[in-house]
């Protein structure tokens, strides 16, 4: 297949785009020198990047079904990797992950392994085979493999359940960042975020989302890495912190021993007037707590996130857009490479950020200083005014102890550039990066839901004779309806960001993992088996979640210890086990699928040849 001129030109186009973005950054730096205030710089950064995404979204408009659902199946391997990385890394990854590591230590870092290891499963077990199927959506695969509308409908149910849980958190994050950067109330920020998201996806569907996601990846990775490298270099910790922070990590362990890690009593914290949601450092930075319980908590969380990754439809559908089966597989590797650039840096950011506050030999240190002096520091004043940091002098000695210093998770990413004395322009850049991360994930999720409802429910079940114009019309209307519903719910501020994100993985793994994987790898899997797997898995998982109690608490993920220490963040384990058992048992007691299905599976297992589902 000859590559179109557009595809050949992609590296050049995005090269210019990256250059343009860097030029914009330098321009902002010049403006800052000329005395422009921080607020205006923040507004310009966020506003300018959103405008660019919207323009890309509008240029990519389309009236073609294959372009709308599959980006025309011409997204090159490496670009699809970048788009997937943006799709994957949510507002939580960008804004809250380093902070989670900062306060949660080793046990929190299960998320790092959990949110990367799943790609090995995607690459080996699913992506190439789903690509060979040639499906438009994940339920499309279920419908074609197991036959009939009911399995398809069950898959749509699980998809919507998982994606909707996830998307409210993303819109929440866009709202938070937009409100901070543009200085508007949170509720307004949510709707600003939603309009920006819809501008990127409504006219061009998957094609528009793909090309904006690549653009958003470039912004978010620049915004994440520049502060990390700059801070490391400026503070004299080495140019590439990843290889050179061993000493600092060791020093932190010593400082912790010296300063004492004290877990404050919640009542005392509340009584001292510390705003809710702020934490103090109470866990070791690099210490690994001994014992089976911690090991199991770590591993069980990592497994839920990994298996969940391999079942999340908005990720799987990205691999339907590549030109071939081989390129789908390769693009999984690139996805993880691009994700790794950020995830490998998050622990380094947490380390740099913490050593600057703790190490008394550094000018930025505040722990062990007089509280009255600390209160005079510019960034402390700024963040205290918006209730993002707090000080509580428990022992009344006027000196700031480690357990007397409180910060919100997000502050680690958002304030560290200020702490290290980097210019304001970097803070604006970070805001733009966080916005890009949250928007790109929200776009992918809303599109996954709207596509499943328009393609699988409307086109395949309700009106299979609908014209192309009508199908795309329905798809767009659904996109807006889902977006508005999600924004409406997130404007009510029901959930913390991270709790809801983990739930999406558990829902997806409970309902979809085994029906998808066994559909390719086990010929004996039958229609009834798949239905049982999807429904029983989802029901058992959800029932377990309700039973253990849905307590959100991002800072202490294992506060509520239940049963064999499977808490609300890990309900995918009972869910997926129920799904596997019921699917195998029901498949074995029902008649094997006919020869036509067996032949289809044989065909799926080889990369060459035509796709199973013929495109319209």
């Amino acid at each position: 297949m000859a590559k179109s001129k557009f595809v050949q030109d992609l590296p050049k186009i995005y090269g210019w785009y990256t250059g343009g973005f860097i030029a914009f950054m330098l321009l902002m730096a010049v403006f800052e020198k000329m005395g422009m205030n921080a607020k205006t710089i923040g507004i310009l950064f966020v506003g300018f990047t959103i405008l660019i995404y919207a323009i890309i979204g509008i240029i990519s408009r389309t009236v073609d079904v294959d372009a709308y659902y599959l980006a025309g199946r011409q997204v090159p391997t490496v670009f699809n990797g970048m788009a997937t990385a943006a799709d994957w890394m949510s507002g939580a990854s960008f804004v809250a992950m380093a902070g989670g590591i900062y306060f949660g230590g080793y046990t929190f870092m299960a998320f790092l392994v959990g949110w990367t290891g799943g790609y090995v499963l995607v690459s080996s077990l699913l992506a190439p085979y789903l690509r060979k199927f040639g499906c438009y959506t994940v339920p499309d695969f279920v419908g074609a493999r197991y036959g009939g509308n009911f399995p398809r409908f069950c898959a749509v149910l699980v998809l919507v359940l998982a994606s909707f849980t996830y998307v409210t958190a993303q819109i929440n994050a866009t709202g938070t960042i937009a409100s901070r950067a543009l200085a508007v109330p949170f509720e307004v920020g949510v709707w600003v975020g939603l309009v920006s998201i819809l501008l990127c996806s409504m006219l061009g569907g998957m094609r528009a989302v793909t090309w904006t996601q690549v653009a958003q990846y470039i912004v978010l990775i620049i915004a994440y890495l520049i502060p990390v490298f700059w801070m490391s270099w400026k503070g004299g910790f080495g140019i590439i912190p990843h290889f050179q922070l061993g000493e600092e990590v060791e020093k932190l362990a010593k400082l912790e021993a010296q300063l004492g890690l004290v877990a404050n009593a919640p009542d005392a914290v509340k009584a001292a007037g510390v705003p809710a949601g702020l934490s103090s450092i109470a866990r070791g930075h690099s210490a690994v707590p001994a014992g089976h319980v911690v090991a199991w908590q770590y591993i069980s969380l990592a497994i839920c996130m990994m298996v969940g990754t391999a079942s999340l439809p908005h990720i799987l559908m990205r691999y339907f857009t590549t030109p071939s089966v081989t390129s789908a597989r390769r693009s999984v590797g690139w996805s993880l490479f691009f994700i790794g650039l950020l995830y490998l840096s998050a622990p380094m950011l947490a380390t740099l950020s913490k050593i600057q506050l703790l190490d008394p030999s550094l000018p930025t240190a505040i722990i062990g200083k007089k509280i009255s002096d600390v209160m005079q520091i510019e960034w402390v004043k700024n963040w205290m005014a918006v209730k993002q940091v707090a000080i509580a002098d428990f022992n009344k000695d006027g000196i700031l102890q480690l357990n007397e210093w409180f910060m919100r998770d997000d502050v680690v990413v958002l304030a560290t550039p200020e702490v290290a004395g980097l210019p304001y322009v970097i803070s604006g850049l970070v805001a733009a990066g966080g916005m890009a991360a949250a928007m790109s994930t929200a776009d992918g999720l809303i599109l996954a839901m709207a596509n499943a409802l328009s393609h699988d429910v409307y086109y395949k079940m309700i009106d299979s004779k609908a014209s192309v114009v009508k199908r795309l019309m329905v798809a767009r209307v659904l996109l807006v309806v889902i977006g508005v519903a999600a924004a409406y719910i997130s404007a009510m501020r029901l959930t913390g960001i991270l709790g809801a994100v983990a739930w999406a993985f558990d829902f997806a793994m409970s309902g979809l993992f085994f029906p998808l994987v066994l559909g390719v790898w086990w010929k004996r899997a039958t229609r009834s088996g798949a239905i049982a797997g999807m429904l029983i898995g989802t029901i058992v998982g959800t029932a377990y979640l309700i039973w253990v109690g849905p307590t959100f608490n991002a800072a202490t993920p294992w506060k509520d210890i239940h049963w064999i220490f499977v808490d609300n963040l890990r309900f995918g384990i009972p869910g997926a086990l129920a799904s596997l058992i019921s699917m195998v048992v029901v498949s074995l007691v029902t008649k094997p699928e006919p020869k036509s299905v067996q032949d289809m599976i044989d065909e799926v297992r080889i990369p060459s040849g035509k796709t199973i589902i013929r495109t319209a």
């Binding site: 391997t77 080793y106 870092m109 299960a110 790092l112 392994v113 990367t116 290891g117 790609y119 090995v120 499963l121 690459s123 080996s124 077990l125 190439p128 990843h242 290889f243 050179q244 922070l245 061993g246 000493e247 990590v249 060791e250 362990a253 690099s286 210490a287 690994v288 707590p289 001994a290 014992g291 911690v294 090991a295 770590y298 591993i299 990592a302 497994i303 990994m306 071939s324 089966v325 081989t326 390129s327 597989r329 390769r330 999984v332 590797g333 993880l336 490479f337 790794g340 995830y343 490998l344 622990p347 380094m348 020869k595 067996q598 044989d602 297992r605 080889i606 990369p607 060459s608 040849g609």
Partner: protein
């Protein structure tokens, strides 16, 4: 029915999948069963248990995927089921 060639291709694919999944299991699970024990060992100056969760396993996953894809592409070509010319990339 699958042709003998398809059958052989699938056997090779399955073998590779099992190897890859074993490596994945090792780096995602086995290592962290012993993280507390290996944390006294130093690697690049970092405690090893901390290093594995902060960097080591992630790097292993990335390498693992590229390695396994290369192997799979070899298998596909060997049995004549590849869907792509190498020159294309």
């Amino acid at each position: 029915m699958a042709t003998p060639k398809q059958e052989a291709h699938w056997q090779a694919t399955k073998r590779l999948m099992i190897i890859t999944m074993s490596l994945w299991f090792f780096f995602s699970t086995v290592v962290f069963m012993f993280a507390a024990d290996i944390n006294s060992v130093k690697f690049l100056g970092y405690p090893l248990g901390y290093y594995m969760t902060a960097q080591g396993s992630m790097l292993a996953f990335i390498v693992m995927i590229f390695w396994s894809n290369n192997r799979q592409e070899k298998i596909d070509r060997e049995y004549g089921f590849s869907d792509e010319d190498r020159e294309d990339d």
